[in-house]
């Protein structure tokens, strides 16, 4: 559907080059929920911008390939590269922002903002018909139709987020990107939004990419999870497996931080801070904070390697590639 191979995207500013995404290989498959996890400032949002093909200066794609395959209405497959994906925004790929931020225009009614994104792409010119379809769709998602006639400030945070989900999925895009869709909402509403997202994905059989620093969110609904650290993906694999047995030390520590019911142990954070994205270390980016650090870690960055079926990790602790092990057996 959408594939990134060794993509590097840097913020080229006059004072420094910020290597926010530095050699990321990732594929978004059809009919899956892919989670992208990682702490603040690890390049998650930049990754999302690359996927969404909305690179604006100073952010620039400096290396790597972005390839997308779009199924057209006639059933053909259309190959798209950077700069082309954006022509199919909302039909092929859509974006759900964090709704607690002021992403809705405060002085325009919700319906008008709905129409803004839809009418240009949808060949429906009949206003009545569009209105009917929006109303039906909201009904499907169990949203009251009155929201259309409201101003954003009249809606609660949860309701606004639901509206944004409805807005992002209305045209049945093949890929939906959700940027921190539950952040700043209380847990009950969070769950509602996540269920809504999962339900919509199940109905449409499309791809949903959820970016969140909340590891619990990924545990609840994603099928595969990619864990980012300092501009790189350190581990990617089926969510269940990754949670059961995380391979990368960073992933292990991240997942250990999840509380369990009945467990009142004090949780320890990872000491230290991530290295600067301006001048990253030569070797593994996590080396300075890693409890299993070896000499080799400081010399060269380990590459992402498939160590178990569909499980990739970038760490010298797991250097035996799947293929080699199979040969031994």
């Amino acid at each position: 559907m959408l594939r990134l191979s060794d993509v590097k995207a840097y913020y080229l500013t006059r004072r420094a080059i910020v290597k926010a995404v530095d050699g990321v290989t990732l594929d978004v498959r059809g009919n899956e929920i892919l989670g992208v996890a990682g702490e603040s400032g690890c390049g998650k949002s930049t990754l999302l911008k690359i996927l969404y093909d909305s690179l604006e200066p100073p952010l620039k794609l400096v290396a790597g390939k972005v390839e997308a395959e779009m199924k057209t209405v006639s059933g053909k497959t259309l190959k798209l590269g950077p700069g082309q994906i954006r022509h199919h925004w909302w039909r092929f790929i859509s974006y759900i922002p964090q709704g607690s931020m002021s992403v809705l225009n405060p002085v325009v009614r919700v319906e008008k903002q709905f129409l803004d994104s839809i009418s240009r792409r949808h060949r429906l010119t009949n206003k009545r018909e569009i209105h009917e379809r929006i109303a039906n769709y909201l009904n499907e998602l169990e949203l009251p139709i009155e929201v259309l006639n409201s101003y954003p400030h009249q809606l609660s945070g949860g309701m606004r987020q639901r509206v944004l989900v409805a807005l992002g999925t209305f045209l049945h895009p093949q890929i939906v990107l959700a940027d921190e869709p539950t952040t700043a909402l209380d847990v009950v509403i969070q769950k509602g939004i996540l269920l809504m997202l999962a339900q919509v994905q199940e109905q449409m059989k499309n791809s949903l990419v959820i970016v969140s620093h909340d590891i619990g969110v990924h545990y609840q609904i994603t099928h595969r999870i990619a864990i980012m650290y300092n501009g790189k993906i350190v581990e990617i694999g089926p969510t269940e497996m990754v949670f059961k047995k995380p391979l990368h030390p960073y992933a292990q520590m991240l997942i250990q931080s999840l509380p369990h019911v009945g467990d009142d142990k004090h949780r320890v954070g990872i000491s230290g801070r991530p290295p600067s994205l301006i001048d990253p270390p030569l070797g593994c980016r996590f080396a300075a904070r890693c409890p299993f650090v070896m000499d080799v870690c400081h010399k060269e960055m380990p590459s992402l390697m498939e160590v178990e079926p569909d499980r990739f990790v970038a760490c010298y602790l797991h250097r035996e590639p799947l293929q080699a092990r199979k040969n031994v057996e």
Binding site: Y52, S54, R86, W89, W90, Y95, P97, M101, S102, V103, L104, N105, P106, V107, V108, R109, K112, D116, S117, R120, R121, Y151, H153, L167
Partner: protein, 311 residues
């Protein structure tokens, strides 16, 4: 109102002396007793007898409850209300048009400069505004007069309207005569609108809903109009309303320089001739108008900003 009453009385000149001066200078010789008699007659006529307290009480009774400011002292016995009534339409005509034109043009350029600040044309337009903005108004007006009256005599030196009231000729000559003062006011004020709107819309352009609109694929003009301008214009509406209120103060310098028969000229006359009543009348009108405009904008604001509601 109290302040309006007292401040003119502290002027170093008084209307009676001024009127006497006019009579004396016309050449008629008078004996001192006659002068004294005339002075007291004038005092009586102008309502300036008695203590300041009594005068104040009379003034308040007349102005606040009767809505009348008494006779003008400089144009005795024409009532102040009639003088204002004659000047007010001219001032409203001139200032309302020029304020609105400056507001519309200035805000449009401001949005453009704020939202597309990297484009060449917005830089040029903004530079133009920055260039015009600091020029003192009277310099600007004088430059216009020099350019279009002396060097290139397109427009008349002084205000001179012909034809019967509200005939076609009257209207066209009124418009023609007003072009220059209006132009000076537009140029003088639009720089401010450009710069303030630019600052406002540059701020709005960074808002999340604008970038999200871009992500939605909304076209540039629609974003600029419905997202940036629609939000940035709100504070500008408030300022516009207050400016419209301030119209009733007249445009002092513009009217004097261009010989325009509006409220500004009236205020000027009133000050020069120490015409207490006229001064109080014109200033009161201005204050009432600004206060009314402020109230009106408070009441109208919900129409512009749906977030504000009165219950």
């Amino acid at each position: 109102m109290t302040v309006i009453f007292f401040v003119p009385r502290f002027l170093p000149s008084d209307p009676v002396t001024a009127a006497l001066g006019r009579v004396m200078s016309s050449g008629s010789a008078m004996r001192p007793e006659e002068v004294q008699a005339m002075r007291s007659t004038l005092m009586q006529l102008y309502g300036l007898e008695g203590t300041l307290g009594e005068q104040y009480f009379n003034f308040m009774k007349r102005a606040v409850f009767g809505g009348s400011f008494g006779p003008s002292l400089a144009f005795y016995p024409t009532p102040v209300n009639a003088l204002i009534g004659k000047s007010l339409p001219w001032t409203i005509f001139l200032l309302l048009t020029s304020t609105l034109i400056a507001w519309v043009v200035g805000n449009l350029i401001g949005v453009l400069a704020g939202y597309q600040s990297r484009r060449i044309y917005s830089k040029i337009l903004e530079g133009f505004a920055i260039l015009l903005y600091p020029i003192p108004y009277y310099i600007l007006a004088l430059i216009l007069i020099i350019l279009f009256v002396y060097i290139n005599p397109i427009f008349p030196v002084s205000f001179n309207v012909q034809g019967a009231p509200f005939s076609l000729e009257f209207i066209s000559s009124a418009v023609f005569n007003s072009v220059l003062p209006a132009l000076s006011i537009i140029i003088g004020s639009f720089g401010w609108w450009v710069l303030s709107m630019k600052a406002l819309s540059a701020g709005i352009a960074e808002e999340d809903y604008v970038s999200f609109a871009r992500f939605k694929g909304v076209g540039g003009p629609a974003i600029m109009g419905r997202y940036v301008m629609r939000n940035a214009i709100l504070p500008q509406i408030t300022v516009l309303a207050l400016n419209i209120g301030a119209i009733f103060n007249g445009a002092l310098i513009a009217e004097i320089l261009f010989g325009y028969p509006g409220l500004g000229t009236l205020v000027y006359t009133a000050v020069v001739q120490s015409d207490y009543n006229l001064l109080m009348g014109t200033i009161s009108i201005g204050i009432i108008a600004v206060a009314t405009a402020a109230l009106a904008i408070d009441l109208l604001y919900p129409f512009f900003d749906p977030r504000i509601q009165y219950r």
